[in-house]
Symmetry: C2
Subunit: 310 residues, 2 copies
């Protein structure tokens, strides 16, 4: 990820951010490796499949939002690792289930065969189910590593809402029902605010909640940031699905239009979708503007989300 | 459930227990009805399917263990409702996923078409996924209703472990790998301790954790009780799968042997499986013996588990 990161912020600041990203990518990889049960643990085949689904791939954008928001509230690193693992496990489980034949039926993910292709459908289902449980277990561990029990309870509720029927799973259900339909822009936005936005927003909130309590104004601006960045992420995803090839994406490109799914590109056109991404980036930056230099990492992450090429 | 309950404990004690069971069945049904998103909430079809999967059926054995254990530690009723909903939601999600074509491919559950038959496979997957998230959200709510935040954090970790790859989901994976194989009794026990025992044991622990802290000795005896009752439940399930018909069970009878799955009956024979259930009941009662009259409800529940006919 170093090259695009450096290209993005010129000079020394870009180098420092690239280094931070690389350090924290290593950090979350290490934390995930430690938190996932060992391959040797019984049942070994399930643990092998879980590690296959989670480790050695992915952009780790949600963990980066956790770490960035935690930097803003001075959170303990150990607690942030737990929250970062939790959101990444939820994300990884959602990909495993989403790729299954009864959902998107995709065969390629992060440049590798999808879990159900490599391990079978039943195992893929259990990988996702077990990962969701492990995510909450991981979050609970933050209480022993610097987050207050009261904060952790709030984080569990937040992650539950973000992943559940009013959040991510609800967004997937709307997505299912939308295949072949023409959605209005507001419907599309509602779908994506749930499907991807809810977990991205939860990542920001969880990271912040590991540290000092937020003021009401700070919470409002962080939420505004989280919502903008969550939607920007999806708009860029839709643009990349049209523009990039499968090798760059590490997943099947052009899948959305092939499956006749409404996207920002199909609803707005490519040019306007790109413009929307830029305006959401500006909204994200504007939300952070009042939060001072402690929020600069979040600003750099939101730039990266909009300017990524995969 | 009144008839078998009354048949089980003679006289006044039986009537009181039957009344307690009926009251608490109503109680958890009300709590589930309130905690599950309304059908009108968007996306409505998902919420309809979630309510279909959870409400109006099931023996609610896990919630009864929560309430029974909470009675022992003097837990607040509101906190117990949250924990009871959480374990029942985890149980309900596991049934929805387990019934899907890539797993057991079953069409009948609680006397109704299974969720994937009624709502489609993709929706069934999302119902299960959303229910697991909702379970943890429900557990978190116990902190506002009489359980301490520290206890709730421990409960989240406990439920995560019980549902995850070393617990319920792990047991399912072992079950998958066991189809067509002949398991030794120890392997069968390991599978069931995870597949059903882990969540039943978690139910006891969660209910107890809502109230006063346990002494080390109390914790040990309650755990011994939970393990015995968890295994007894499965042994009885295997016996009923052979003895009862589908109408009584509300699910397809004889499915295990048809699917060539190892069961206590196939490994031990029917007579010895029945004897094992009785000896586990004795073990459960012996574990409770030192805990005094506060544990009498748990004793009655374990009798019910062994003597049920569906």
């Amino acid at each position: 990820m170093d090259a695009p990161v450096q290209a993005l912020v010129a000079g020394a600041a870009g180098q420092i951010f690239a280094r931070w990203m690389a350090d924290h990518a290593d950090r979350v990889e290490g934390a995930l490796t430690a938190r996932l049960p060992a391959v040797e643990a019984h049942p070994a085949r399930l643990h092998e499949a879980i590690r296959y689904a989670v480790l050695g791939g992915g952009k780790r954008i949600r963990p980066m939002l956790v770490y960035g928001a935690g930097e803003f509230t001075g959170a303990a690193p150990g607690a942030l690792d737990c929250a970062a693992c939790a959101v990444e496990m939820i994300h990884a489980y959602s990909l495993v289930h989403d790729d299954m034949p009864c959902m998107d039926n995709d065969v390629l993910r992060r440049g590798k065969p999808t879990v159900h292709v490599a391990f079978g459908e039943a195992m893929a289902m259990l990988v996702g189910d077990a990962l969701q449980a492990l995510a909450f277990e991981s979050l609970a561990a933050a209480a022993g590593l610097g987050a207050s029990p009261t904060a952790v309870v709030a984080m569990v509720a937040e992650l539950g809402r973000g992943a559940g029927s009013l959040g991510m799973a609800g967004g997937q259900a709307i997505d299912l029902a939308a295949v072949g339909r023409k959605l209005a822009r507001a419907e599309l936005e509602d779908m994506h605010r749930r499907k991807t936005g809810a977990l991205l927003a939860a990542s920001v909130r969880l990271g912040a909640a590991c540290g000092r309590p937020l003021s009401g104004a700070e919470r409002m601006q962080l939420d505004r940031f989280a919502l903008a960045v969550g939607l920007a992420f999806q708009v860029v995803d839709d643009v990349l699905d049209v523009e990039a090839d499968s090798a760059t994406l590490g997943k099947t490109a052009g899948k959305d239009s092939e499956q006749n799914k409404p996207t920002y590109v199909s609803v707005l056109g490519l040019r306007e979708a790109r413009a929307l991404a830029q305006s959401l980036r500006a909204e994200a930056r504007s939300a952070l503007a009042g939060l001072g230099p402690g929020a600069s990492r979040l600003a750099a992450i939101s730039d990266l989300i909009v300017q990524r090429s995969s």
